[in-house]
Amino acid sequence: MIDTPSAAGEELGGPGWGRLEALYRSSRDDVYAYVCTLLRDRAAAEDVTAQAFERAYRRRRTFDRRRGEERAWLFGIARNAALDELRRRRRLARLIGEPGEAAPGPHDGAEEALRRTAVRAALAQLSGRDRELIALKFHAGLSNREIAGVLGVSESNAGTLLHRALTRLRRACEEEEGS
């Protein structure tokens, strides 16, 4: 799912239709997962995902390869769309419900299910920034370099920020499991 899109015809300064199509096919689920984790709303995630790709298609000529890879560019668009959605919610003071919980897998044992529940609860306790880092890394499958491109930080800083977020998540998991 995190494959680099195949090189297809390119337009001047931006990815061509073929390349965008490949990018869409390879990144749709990743973008959705990232946005869903960030927004904690599946319906909104669907809309924002579609919105992100619509923006990407419209602004394909604004893509500058010197400023990063295509996936980083795409997730930057998705991030802005998701944050705009969060802003809109703040203005409307409308709380969106938690994302629908994934049902335990059929082969999950009790301990595994408990563990997953703890992780889910800990993830919900994290701040938006930490949750975004977790989503970019583990749900969208971005490398640290791509995360750095999305967030506008250096690659080492992206790793450090990710490590901190993960540390807080582990602490929250321990608290959840201890309670």
């Binding site: 997962a33 869903c36 599946r42 769309a81 809109r88 703040r90 790793g159 490590h163």
Partner: protein, 450 residues
């Protein structure tokens, strides 16, 4: 979070844990020390929200529709009809993201163009006045005395003492026939007058309006012309300058000129004197000055052969009388005779001087024709820059002159537009920068509050 590119110190444990995460995500074995972290990483991957089939279909449909649209410029807004039509409760982010930059830029451009056009249109009269070399204030009257020295020295038109004795004729063209005026012909037009004192007109037209009457052999004819031109209020001064140039080329003299150039209009009255052989050419070129149209033209000629001959005879008589008196003075013996003859000689010399002056004035009038040129501001249509007459065709110099004026006006308009656009552009850029900063801050705040 953007902009935080400050390098954080490397931590060996951090590096090891990040490496463990990468190995776990890629399915490679992990150091037992980091087994818990690897398990957490795999759990997080397992918690990845999956796209429901119906959601995937909806996203595919919307993106497929978006692909059909042409790439938009920055700030392009998706048509409102498509928004929300795909979903019952659309949560379209960025929906209210107004393309302020594009709107602001467009608005500024429109305002600048309007202001520039208004200034240009309003400055039309001002430009006309300013082109009059500093004498453009309204209702200011300036009298120019171009070639004043030469005019005073050589022209000094003597009052035609013989005019009362002479007969004349006139050719007049009406404004409606400025292009090809017909003339009121006189009986004596076709040839030399049969007797002294009769009107004499010439033949063989050469100018667009026809030539003035050339002198018949041995006859003395005073020729003159009156020309009334109309031009746009802004070009009175320019047309006058052109008239001066024409007269200068023909070795003519500007005896008196009054050029009044104002923002509302203006006029010019110019008294010219040109060599009589150049009069047809002068009238022709003056009638076809650029940016001017002929309102009326009068060509007049006056045969003064009779008075000229009379003056010559009188002069000869006076000289003969003086010669006779001088001889008698030489033979005089008494003081009374001497005094009487001396007085008569003085009178004869005075008569000779008077006759000489009269004759010189008459000869000057014959040699130099007077032209009364009047330039008035009026309504168009006026002559083209290349001249309204067929004789003044399109020339390279006139084209260069017009091109220069066009470039000057274009540069002026561009300068005015720039003067308006620059501050507006700076304001728009500042507003856009503030808007972008606020939007970024709002997004980060939304992330913090999430």
């Amino acid at each position: 979070m953007r902009g935080r590119r400050r390098q954080l110190p490397e931590d060996p444990q951090l590096t090891a844990e990040l490496e463990a995460i990468e190995r776990a995500l890629s399915g490679r074995p992990v150091d037992p020390e980091h087994a818990e972290l690897a398990r957490l990483s795999l759990l997080l991957v397992a918690e990845r929200p999956a796209v429901a089939p119906q959601s995937a279909a909806a996203i595919d449909a919307r993106v497929a529709a978006a692909k059909a649209l042409p790439p938009a410029r920055r700030g392009h807004r998706r048509p409102r009809s498509r928004r929300g039509a795909d979903r019952a409760s659309p949560a379209a982010p960025g929906r209210r993201r107004a393309p302020a930059l594009a709107w602001g830029g467009g608005l500024a451009t429109v305002i600048a163009l309007i202001v520039a056009l208004a200034l240009t249109a309003g400055g039309g009269s001002r430009s006309g006045s300013s082109s009059s070399s500093g004498r453009a204030t309204a209702s200011s009257l300036h009298t120019t005395a171009k070639s004043a020295a030469s005019a005073a020295a050589t022209a000094a038109p003597a009052r035609p003492s013989a005019s009362a004795r002479a007969h004349g004729s006139a050719q007049t063209s009406s404004p409606a026939r400025a292009g090809a005026p017909s003339r009121a012909s006189s009986p004596a037009r076709t040839g030399a007058p049969s007797r002294a004192g009769s009107p004499a007109l010439a033949s063989a037209p050469s100018s667009p309006f026809g030539p003035l009457a050339p002198q018949a052999n041995g006859r003395q004819v005073i020729e003159s012309g009156q020309l009334q031109l109309t031009t746009s209020p802004r070009r009175v001064d320019q047309v006058a300058e052109e008239a001066f140039r024409v007269i200068g080329q023909l070795d003519g003299i500007v005896q008196r000129s009054t050029v009044n150039a104002t923002a509302a209009g203006g006029y010019a009255e110019i008294q010219l004197s040109v060599p009589e052989q150049s009069l047809p050419q002068a009238m022709g070129e003056l009638s076809t000055l650029p940016y001017a149209s002929v309102a009326s033209r009068t060509d007049a000629s006056q045969d003064v052969t009779g008075s000229y001959d009379a003056d010559r005879r009188a002069l000869a008589d006076a000289r003969a009388l003086r010669t006779s008196l001088l001889k008698r003075l030489a033979d005089a013996h008494t003081q009374a005779q001497i005094d009487s003859l001396t007085a008569q000689i003085h009178d004869a010399e005075a008569s000779i001087a008077s006759d000489q002056a009269t004759l010189a004035g008459l000869e000057h009038q014959v040699a130099y024709s007077s032209v009364q040129l009047t330039i008035a501001a009026g309504r168009g249509p006026f002559g083209l820059p290349g001249g309204s007459g067929s004789g003044a065709g399109f020339t390279l110099s006139r084209a260069a002159h017009d091109a220069g004026r066009v470039l000057t006006v274009a540069a002026g308009v561009a300068l005015i537009a720039l003067a308006v656009l620059l501050p507006l552009g700076l304001l728009v850029a500042l507003a856009a920068w503030i808007w972008l900063r606020l939007r970024r801050r709002g997004r980060e705040q939304a992330l913090d509050a999430a």
